[in-house]
């Protein structure tokens, strides 16, 4: 599967079926800090992603000076 990380605009290729929660863990992303999108739909942590999927992982955290 091909993962597009935004806003970094970096792609990562992974193989093997896994849950969204597992995918985020492998990417080092804290739960609740990114949306996982496939075919214009949000995925829950419990859903499976497959080898031929194109996934966008979009961070939700933004901010400037405190």
């Amino acid at each position: 599967m091909r993962i597009l990380l935004r806003p970094q605009c970096r792609t990562v290729d992974l193989s093997g079926r896994r849950t969204v929660a597992r995918l985020l863990h492998e990417l080092g992303i804290v739960p609740g800090t990114a949306m996982v999108i496939r075919n214009d739909t949000l995925l829950l942590d419990s859903e499976m992603v497959e080898d031929d999927d194109e996934i966008e992982v979009r961070a939700v955290i933004s901010g400037g000076a405190a």
């Binding site: 800090t33 939700v60 933004s62 400037g64 405190a66």
Partner: protein, 310 residues
């Protein structure tokens, strides 16, 4: 797992609420949360004109979308800060958002205001951090636009994560004056101010991002280039880890502060702002921070021209 409202397949799961929602029910849930915050905190009254500060990011566009959907009289305010491609892109998205919905939009262009106040130029000339320069300018132009436009309220898209990170920073440095002013509603402390409200203050960034996504709002995903390494992002990262370990931590942190801590800090006597002798806006000295910055820029530009003269 099923949608808590209609039992359909869910698209969003909120850990802090242990609740899942389908797309349409989530949009309804989000709007009701905003409506409840506005009502409970008495942020907006019927018939008031609301100026919504929009950056092109998810929070401010989600806020404008909700307030317009709830029937409020809203006008967008976009500050074009002159931060290269980032400003070009965010302005285009804001203009497209407003045009698609037929909503009025005002634009303040930093590159032409007060002789040219683009954030990168101001930061370079004054050796301030871009975020410090931007903060001073944004506050002034927000306040001025609200006053000159005759608006009753200025609404900003600050969310729960913003408020929790700000609270953590204020507590770590025991900024008593800032803790006293950290509220979802700020009544004007000077005749040139309007009321300032934060209707998203109890909705997390995840919630505002999912709302924007599910509503098909095209927002700027890229971060401001000056935000890299910003302290607020460090605080948000820490709070995000605490939230993952114990869902609901951020909301409890902010809610309990507002219930018990903030009133104690607000009870301490503070002097109201004076009036800037140059622009008439509030100031804590003879001139406001904005006018001091404009004067410093003018001096440095004049000195630079003088040095270059043959």
């Amino acid at each position: 797992m099923k949608c808590v409202r209609c039992r359909a397949k869910p698209e969003v799961y909120l850990r802090a609420h242990n609740s899942a929602f389908c797309r349409s029910c989530y949009v309804e849930y989000f709007r009701r949360q905003v409506e409840r915050a506005v009502r409970r905190q008495r942020m907006l009254a019927p018939g008031e004109r609301v100026l919504v500060a929009v950056s092109g990011g998810k929070d401010s566009l989600a806020l404008w979308d909700v307030l317009a959907a709830l029937g409020y009289d809203t006008t967008g305010l976009y500050l074009a800060q002159g931060i290269g491609e980032y400003s070009t892109r965010s302005r285009a998205l804001v203009e497209a958002f407003a045009a698609a919905r037929g909503l009025p939009l005002r634009v303040v262009d930093f590159t032409v205001e007060d002789g040219g106040m683009a954030v990168p130029d101001v930061a370079a000339l004054t050796r301030r951090s871009p975020c410090a320069a931007c903060g001073t300018l944004k506050r002034h132009y927000f306040d001025r636009a609200a006053r000159e436009g005759g608006f009753d309220v200025l609404a900003t898209g600050h969310n729960l994560d913003d408020e929790a990170a700000r609270l953590l920073g204020n507590v770590l440095h025991w900024q008593r004056d800032r803790l006293a002013r950290q509220r979802p509603v700020l009544e004007p402390s000077h005749p040139a101010f309007v009321r300032k409200v934060k209707p998203l203050y109890l909705l997390s960034e995840y919630e505002t991002a999912t709302y924007a996504f599910l509503r098909g709002i095209d927002y700027v995903v890229e971060e401001c280039p000056n935000a890299a390494g910003a302290t607020q992002l460090v605080y948000k990262d820490v709070l995000g880890r605490l939230e993952a370990a114990s869902p609901g931590t951020k909301a409890a942190f902010v809610r309990e502060f507002l219930r018990t801590g903030q009133p104690a800090f607000a009870a301490e006597p503070t002097a109201p702002p004076a009036t800037c002798t140059r622009c008439g806006m509030p100031a804590f000295g003879e001139v406001c921070g904005h006018c001091a910055l404009v004067a410093e820029i003018a001096r440095k530009r004049a000195a630079s021209l003088h040095a270059e003269a043959p």
